[in-house]
């Protein structure tokens, strides 16, 4: 398994290098982790361990980087389950002058390449079910998926609690497994750091990739409006305070530089879960040699 994982990492690097991406490393200890309502950072002295490298990577794009990727550890406090580990490897990449549709093409090409390199085929089997990586992926908008399986439209009437619950209880269990599935166009309120769709501001340009029913990657057309970003951070800080959670300080440097960022597409992909799928393992226990 160690060798297999190493081959996956090498294949990922090779794909990015061949497509003119630059591998970068950004700080792991942060004083201002990204504010997200439900993601909790692990304190490390007077800093926090990063929950994602996104703010620093976007600052690199704002400073002129065109195509960058990073492979490295991220930490999320309290996330321990058969498909979660409090410490995990994240692959994150950004493409300037692009949107969430462009980075979806990157993702398709990357997965087909990696599967070909490590498995010799894109026709996989995951836990007894066929899973074919190329060329057709199932694509469902959040509204379509929720109307079909949960009986309501969260884009019209957003309810955060019901949205999260029905996603886990009603939508995810029904997602097709034979091909990768893209859930796209999230309600703007569930868009986090994604920009609104220009022709339909009720939805955010965000997608999530599922492989074999397992959530693998999250992508945005990045929000590059510093005013709206500040408003969203402030709302999130208020909600965190109300929920009794640590409120991280605003990253003022990020907000100051965000105004220089070109339209950008970004993807965050969980590498441990990708290796799990490629190696046909049911849980992270079978994959990680040192499990917390």
């Amino acid at each position: 398994m160690l060798e297999f994982r190493s081959r996956v990492l090498q294949a990922i690097r090779r794909w990015f290098i061949e497509h003119d991406f630059v591998e970068v490393e950004t700080p792991v200890r942060l004083s201002t982790p990204a504010l997200e309502l439900h993601i909790n950072a692990e304190p490390a002295g007077d800093h926090f361990l990063r929950t994602s490298p996104e703010l620093h990577m976007k600052r690199l794009v704002a400073a002129g980087a065109r195509r960058i990727f990073q492979l490295g550890p991220c930490f999320r406090r309290g996330e321990r389950g058969s498909r979660h580990n409090p410490e995990y490897t994240m692959l994150e990449w950004y493409r300037a002058d692009a949107n969430y549709a462009d980075v979806l093409l990157d993702t398709k090409a990357l997965l087909a390449f990696v599967a070909g390199e490590v498995k010799g085929t894109t026709d996989l089997v995951y836990q007894g079910h066929p899973l074919v990586f190329a060329p057709f992926w199932e694509r469902l908008t959040i509204a379509e998926a929720f109307i079909r399986w949960a009986g309501w439209d969260p884009v019209k009437n957003y309810n955060a609690d019901r949205f999260d619950f029905d996603l886990v209880e009603k939508v995810e269990p029904h997602l097709p497994r034979a091909a990768p599935v893209i859930l796209t166009d999230y309600p703007a309120a569930a868009g986090a750091l994604a920009r609104r769709k220009p022709d339909n501001p009720a939805v955010a340009e965000r997608w999530e990739l599922y492989l074999g029913g397992l959530e693998i990657a999250n992508a945005y057309s990045e929000l590059i409006d510093p005013v709206e970003q500040r408003t969203r951070f402030a709302e999130c800080a208020g909600q965190r305070a109300a929920a009794g959670r640590t409120v991280y300080p605003l990253d003022e440097e990020f907000l100051a530089e965000l105004g220089h960022m070109p339209p950008t597409g970004g993807v965050a992909l969980g590498v441990d879960r990708l290796v799990m799928i490629l190696a046909d393992l049911a849980t992270l226990d079978d994959l990680l040699p040192f499990r917390e």
Partner: protein, 212 residues
């Protein structure tokens, strides 16, 4: 009160006054959403297993449970009488509370009785119990297949299923996990009712003897 993040396998919780045992537990945090705790829970009163998903914000009641060690004394014809080890208090339990455990009791056997709000709800036997087969069709010599079984009666009258090579007068061993759930013993012999078949007397087996 527990918060959802306290949930884990083996934790005992209470919902609407009913105590439950968490038999399976899975952490979920979909996308950027709130954490969910998908649990499979077992009703400690009737053994029924159901699924229940808790949200991060849920708080969950803690049941008043107490486990007491007791020694089985006798059956008065209907009820089962135990002696509490510490206080020598006599406790009478109905056959309902014992369930199938009643077929595996032996005089002076030490058991653990689980009380909920002061009322006995389950009886946990020692980690294994051995019983003699008192009635079964004659064994088929040389047939060591374990997936083909036949009915057999143990000395307490319970009918179980055993492999064909088991004879009248043989002993079988039933293994329990701490929570009272039966599992089959080692050696790849997985039989219905979680009973492992053994050909030797119990003493020989506890010293590590194996099925030929």
């Amino acid at each position: 009160m527990y918060s959802a993040s306290d949930l884990r396998k083996g934790l005992k919780i209470e919902m609407d006054g009913v105590p439950f045992d968490i038999v399976e537990y899975e952490f979920y945090r979909p996308g950027k959403g709130q954490a969910m705790y998908k649990c499979r829970i077992r009703n400690l009163l009737n053994g029924n297993v159901t699924d229940k998903t808790f949200r991060e914000v849920d708080s969950i009641d803690q049941p008043d449970l107490e486990e007491r060690e007791m020694q089985y004394s006798y059956n008065d014809g209907e009820h089962f009488v135990f002696l509490e080890n510490r206080t020598y208090e006599q406790v009478t339990l109905s056959p309902d509370v014992l369930g199938t455990a009643k077929y595996f009791l032996r005089e002076d056997m030490t058991v653990k009785v689980l009380f909920h709000n002061g009322r006995a709800i389950t009886v946990n036997l020692p980690s294994y119990v051995e019983k003699e087969i008192v009635e079964t069709e004659p064994g088929v010599r040389g047939d060591t297949a374990t997936n083909v079984t036949k009915p057999a009666k143990i000395d307490s009258g319970l009918e179980i299923r055993v492999p064909l090579f088991i004879n009248q007068g043989d002993w079988v061993r039933r293994v329990f996990r701490a929570c009272g759930e039966e599992v089959s013993w080692s050696r790849g012999l997985k039989l219905e009712n979680g009973v492992s078949a053994i050909r030797q007397q119990p003493d020989a087996v506890s010293s590590g003897a194996r099925i030929p």
